[in-house]
Each structure stands twice: as C-alpha cells, then as structure tokens.
Symmetry: C2
C-alpha cells in the first residue's frame, strides 16, 4: 500500500482525478493480452505536463513506483503495475496542441488517439500514416515504438516522432528534438524515449511528422495455394522497391477466422492485402500493375481491386479485426502474441518452419504479418489459467524467437518488450548492450520507480 501522506498529496493536487476505487484500479491492472493482472494502489488522471511533474516528484519522494497507462491496448503487459503503486492514466491529456499544415507537423498530448488525430486532420489534406490496428494513444505508440500496416512505406514511430517532452524520475520535464527535419545537435534523446516504454520517463507531448493525404488510393487482394508462394511474391515486390503502402499477409487459419468474424467473402487461403498510395491515379495504376504481374508470376489468384472506398474500408476493417477474429476462434480465450521481424530474404523460411512447428501443437496460431517489413504475428488464443496452454505457447514462442534471431532478426518488431519479451533481450543484444541499457536506466531512474520490471531482465 502507498503511504497516506502521498495519497493526501495527490488528492490535494488532483482532487477527484485521483481514484482508489476497485473498478478503476481493475481497469488499470492489465492491457489486452494474457499477462497476469496486478492492481495499482491508486490511479491518477493528470491534465498537464506540470501535473505529471508534480505527481512524479511526489511519488519519487515516497519511492512509490509509477506506471503510465494510455488506451490499454498494449499486448506485452507494459501497463501492468507490477509493483503496484500509482497508475498514471494519460487519457485526459488529449489535446492537439499545435498543427502546422505548412510544415507537415503536429504536436499532441499523449492521450490523443490515432483515430482522434485522423479526424482532426481530415480537413487539412494531411494525415498521420501509422496504423497499428488498435485505436492506441499517440503516447503509447511512441512509448512502444509502434508501427503497423503502413510502416513498409512510411516508417515507424522511430521515424515519425520529431520530438517529445518526457517527465523523468526527478520530476523535471525534458524536451527533446526540434521541429527541424534533421539535426545532429547532440545525443538523440527523442529516439531514446521512443521505445523506452515509460521506463525512463513519462511522455507528455509528442511532435509528429505528417504526410500529405495521397491523391489516389487503391486496395487489392490476392490468394495463393501455399503460403510460400505468397511470401515469395512479397519478397520480390520489396526487392524491386515498389512503394506499396501496405502489404499484409493472412494465412489460411487467420483467413478462416476473419471470414467468420467479419463475414468477409474471401477463400480461406493464404491471402495478401495491398494498399497503393500515389499522387495520381496513374501512379497507383502503375504500382498495381507491377504488383499484379509479380503475384501472377507466383501463381497468385483472383488479384482483385476493391471497387469502392466502402469496399476498401470493409477489407481493411476486417484486417484490423484480425486480432479479435483470432481470439473468437476460442471463446473466452486471451491472446498470446508473437512479433518477430526478420530480414526479408529469410521470411519464407521463417514462416514455413513456424507453421511446421504449429502443426504439431494442440494450440492454434493464426498468422498475420506486415510482411513487407519481414514482420509477422501469431495470435494464439490461450486459457490464461491453463498451465498447459501457457507452457505450450511459451515453447512455440521460444523456438520462433530463436529462429528469428539466428536469421539476424528481432524478438519484437513493433509490440515492444514489456514483460513478455524480456527473457529474449540478452540473446538478441548480448550482455554488453544490455549492460549499457541498464547503465542508462540507472543513470536516469536510480531508484527504479519508472515502470519497474519492464524491458530489462534482472541481472543473473
């Protein structure tokens, strides 16, 4: 339990935007995945950077841990307050602070969601291209270095965050980056906080790079007899440098789930979903023709363009709902997700071996991939109370990550480390790199109060 003196201080500071009620604490005890929930002692809802600073200073004075919370769509347990303490819910900080259409950039509070930002930009001719599926907050996306379906063309939060403000453990607000498109003025603190998952500080402002909304957009799908053929078509598209905006793969298991869940009328076969963006219909047409030719060479079937914006929206909504469609395969289950990313030339081999592994398992593992980046997920529905399920999901994941690392890949393409991928960090980065990460953590958060227990595995 946290000290009464701290509760009193927080109540003075926040009034009724401090809660110790059971239901609010329950809501802040977990994200969307299978990881075991832990209740925070209290939940605070700050409305400004200054309030976050005051909260951090107060908690730090009492050596009480803090865990930031956004949309709660995290898949790796990032938002679980492992050592209880205070959950810092940033969803009341949801203002668009500044927008420059001329400079194609915007500064937002961390609780702004992706869809909220998209609505705000609708009339400007600009858009923020990243799309991780969930309606995540921009703060959460920055904290986990999120990306999603459009990263193959537009990059990830690593590329799209121009600067940010983070409150560090001593309560100071650190501004990083600038609105300049490039800078070599000192250590890249922006990229240090992006992906640090709240372990180095709490993000309270984010400046994002925007893009002009494409004049022309088209979508297409195409199915294959084998997943190898589908992946080999993707490899060829990427190697030719065709600037496709989205290249998504759903395997036959995931397609069956999506057909049921979203009533999508497509064969339950390995399927590629494409989206093309261009300055003109001619450009989009040129991309679609080039892609159509390649999928044809790989025996792709039914290469069909979505005929209308509505058809396109339905297609992508079905793709977005793939996670829930996968879970619906087993009512009451929770999702255990994997997230490896490998060099594109190894992708077919990695997926092939992974599906062979799954074929021997009692668990089902629908596969969905941002394959243009070499990134794919299994969404394995598990019963979080079943040790058999958890042990088997862990076995599949261990073998998959080992395979990806041997290919020069990563254990996490976009979901972050949280709790779930912590045990792979040393194998991926080596002991020396991990010690450098630990040294940075100690330097910035000597009492281990900022989202403790995440990213960095304890030293043996």
């Amino acid at each position: 339990m946290i000290p009464d003196a701290l509760l009193t201080r927080l109540r003075d500071l926040l009034g009724d935007r401090l809660s110790t009620g059971a239901s609010v604490r329950e809501l802040h005890s977990r994200g969307e995945s299978h990881h075991h929930a832990v209740l925070p002692d209290a939940v605070v809802f700050p409305s400004s950077t200054e309030q976050v600073q005051a909260i951090v200073a107060a908690c730090a004075a009492h050596r009480v841990p803090m865990t930031p919370f956004g949309a709660g769509s995290s898949l790796e347990g990032h938002v679980i307050p492992l050592r209880a303490g205070v959950s810092v819910d940033l969803t009341r900080m949801a203002r668009i602070l500044r927008l420059s259409v001329e400079d194609l950039d915007v500064t937002v509070e961390p609780g702004v969601t992706r869809k909220q930002l998209d609505r705000h930009l609708q009339s400007t001719g600009l858009f923020f291209p990243l799309d991780p599926g969930a309606d995540a907050t921009i703060g959460g996306m920055a904290a986990t270095r999120a990306s999603g379906t459009t990263a193959v063309r537009y990059g990830t939060m690593r590329e799209l965050v121009l600067g940010l403000t983070a409150v560090v453990a001593d309560g100071r607000a650190v501004r990083t980056g600038s609105r300049a498109r490039k800078s070599s003025a000192g250590y890249d603190l922006t990229r240090l906080f992006v992906g640090a998952e709240g372990t180095l500080g709490i993000i309270t402002e984010v400046t994002l790079r925007l893009y002009g909304r494409p004049e022309a957009v088209a979508a297409a799908t195409c199915w294959f007899e084998t997943i190898d053929a589908a992946v080999n078509a993707v490899i060829a598209i990427v190697q030719l440098g065709i600037p496709v905006a989205r290249i998504e793969l759903l395997d036959e298991v995931q397609m069956e789930a999506v057909r049921r869940h979203s009533r999508l009328d497509h064969p339950a076969a390995p399927t590629l979903f494409f989206e093309f963006h261009g300055m003109s219909d001619a450009q989009v047409e040129e991309q679609a023709i080039a892609v159509g030719a390649i999928v044809g060479e790989h025996a792709g079937q039914g290469f069909a363009r979505a005929s209308s914006p509505e058809a396109r929206a339905k297609l992508w909504q079905a793709r977005h709902d793939a996670y829930y469609a996968a879970l619906a395969l087993r009512p009451g289950a929770r999702g255990w997700t994997t997230d490896v990313c490998v060099p594109i030339s190894r992708l077919a081999e990695c997926i092939h071996a992974t599906k062979a592994d799954l074929a021997t398992s009692h668990l089902v593992g629908p596969l969905v991939g941002h394959v243009g980046d070499g990134n794919f997920h299994l969404v394995i529905p598990v019963d979080p109370e079943s040790n058999t399920d958890l042990a088997e999901a862990e076995r599949i994941t261990d073998r998959l990550v080992e395979r990806a690392l041997a290919m020069g890949g990563t254990c996490s393409g976009e979901h972050g480390v949280g709790i779930g991928k912590m045990r792979f960090l040393e194998a991926e980065h080596g002991a020396a790199a991990l010690d450098v990460m630990r040294a940075i953590k100690r330097a910035l958060d000597p009492h281990d109060l900022m989202n403790p227990g995440k990213i960095l595995p304890p030293r043996d």
Copy 2:
C-alpha cells in the same frame, strides 16, 4: 605526455601501426575547419574490433583520452584531440564485411569511405544514397549523424544505420540493432551512438540500409532574380510532397565562387539544383514537369535539364566543390561553417534575415543549402589568426543560431556539435535535456576518456 607503459603496451599490440612521429601527429591534430589544432601524443591504426577493444582497455587503464579519426573531413573540430592522448585512426579498417543484395543491406568497417562503398556496390544494382559532399568515412558519417544533398528523399544516417558495433570505455564491444527493418526490442542504442561523435564509444562496424539504384535519373537547374523567390519555390515543392532526390540552393555569392572554381557556365544568381530519381523515365518526367511548373510560378528562369550523364556529373561535382570554391574566394583562409536547419515554412525568412546580417559584415558568407530539409550553410572564409575575423564570424553565427532556434530549428542540421556548436546546446535543448545527456555520458564513460571536450558544454 602519455605514460611509457602505455606506449609499450600499444607498441606490443600494434607494432608499426603506432606512430609518435611529428608529421603523423600533425595530420591527426585537426579536421578541415578553422578550429585550433591540438597534437595527439600518439596515433594508432587498429585493424579490427578486437584491436580497438585492446587499445581502449589499455588507454582506460592509464586514464588516457582517446579521439577517433576517419577521413578528417569534419567541420566542427570533432577529431581534434583536445586533451592530447591517443588518436585512433580507423582508416585501416576499410573492409566490406558482408553484403546482402536480397535484403538491401551491407555491413562495413568504419574506415570504408562513401566513394569506396559506391564503387563496391556499382555492379549490384544497389546504392547507398547519402552524400555529404566530402568523401567521408562511413564511421565518421555515423558518428556525426551526417546527411547531405539526398536526405530530403532518403533520410540521414539516423534512418540509414540499421545497427552498429561500438567499443565503449570499459573495452567491451556493444552490438546494437539487428538486420530487421524495424524493432521495438529495448532502448534504441543504435540511434544513441549515431551522432554521439565518439563521446560514448568508438564505432567499429556499421550496418547500412541500401536502396535500389534508380532506373531513371535526371538533373536540372534554374535561377532566380531573388533568393526569396528561389526559397519560396522550394517550400511549395516540399509542401506538395514531390519526391525530389536533391534540392540544393546556392546563393549569388556562392554561384560566383562556383563559376570561378569549377568553370561552370551559369549566371551568378540564386540557383536551385535538382535531381530526380524514378523507377521509369515517365516517373522522372512527371516530377520534373511538376517542379518546372512550380519554379515557373515563382519566376524561375532557364529551367534546364542536364542533357547527359556527363553534364549531370559536372553539375553535381561543382555543387560538391562549393566548400572549396567558397574558400578559394580568399586564398589561405580556413572555413567557418554554419549549419542551421529550420521548419520549411520559416526558411525564406531565416535566409532573408541572415543575408541582411551578412550585408553589414566585413566577411563574405557564400550560402549553400539542402533547402528541401530546411538546412543551409554559410561557408565563411576566415583567417584563423585574426581575432577580428573570428569575433565577427562568431557574431554572425550567434545571431543566426538564435534566429533558427526561435523558429523551432536546430543549431546543427548535419555537421554535428564538436567544439563549434557546443555553446548553443543548452539554448536548443534546455538544461534538463542537457543534464540527461550528461548523465548518459557519465554512465557510459565515467572517467571522460572518450573524445572528451566535445558535444557537452561544461556545467556552469
């Protein structure tokens, strides 16, 4: 002087690849700019990561500072061994370690130069797009977060380094990143070492992202009566999102210098240099037509396409030699360079005010800019022995940086901080961010042995 025991140790380790000769030390006492030279006590030429580790461990044991050295083309004094000690020359580490045409990536030793890499890739259909002008080493480019003429389309070393190996102060080799195109597995150590200018460790391997060589390339130039008109044309091109590969501005002073130095037959008027890359002639044509229309709207004159690869090469060689052309305006002078980068919407205003400032100065300041990024340089020829010159160059720079920061920009777009821009870091980032940088430096290099005296200004 460094201890005899250390010299003995280094000689045992390196044999004749250790030098204490006057001419070698002199060569390692400075880069290309006006900053005052300092002689190292010794220069070492390691040939492997393991040797760099042994050198660092030996120097650290004796608390002797180390300063990495590459091509020596640095403009901000990065390579000057301010506290003497050992200059670590990495030019003997110049092997291409691994190339994957399929994955569009390559791993090189730090002494590989940009042109060497380009020759190596010539037959592969791939290229490494960054071009800072000088034939810098890849290690040096990573260390200073370099970019140059093509960053507007391809990004900077921040985007193009996929991973690296750095030897840190305790002699350990830290591997960062992976060959995956994206990752959210832990702190972004790659981006921390990129731009750290050797103050956190010595880079001994770099993995770079490559691109397919464009099928079609075209170049064009266009001149304007006023610099405002030229910059406003650029702003329109950027805001429309036309993916031009290079957009360079040379003002009338720089053009006069280039005309003389490179015998280029262009008017001595503000001039834009363009390069267009595309998958087809049609794509390049589309870009050129769009740009031609915009420059026409801004009263651009003589929009002319270079007719042949030779003409294109001559044009870009002239642009590359702009630095030397500027210096040649005043024989015997050294270059004092500025490097601000501002949001694109403020660029015309920033350049206009800067040229007004220069008009009142006794110094001449040719202007050359990577204007698509909002980045431009003055190359001010100064007599490094003249306090009047130095004080005036400093005055111009101070006012320029103050102007750029007020516009949301940065004091250094691509040259790095080194010694030259150190005094602006607090104004740009604020005290809290600077303290975070200092904490990271202390955590990784507690005895301040890695390129000491650079980037981080001493605390008041």
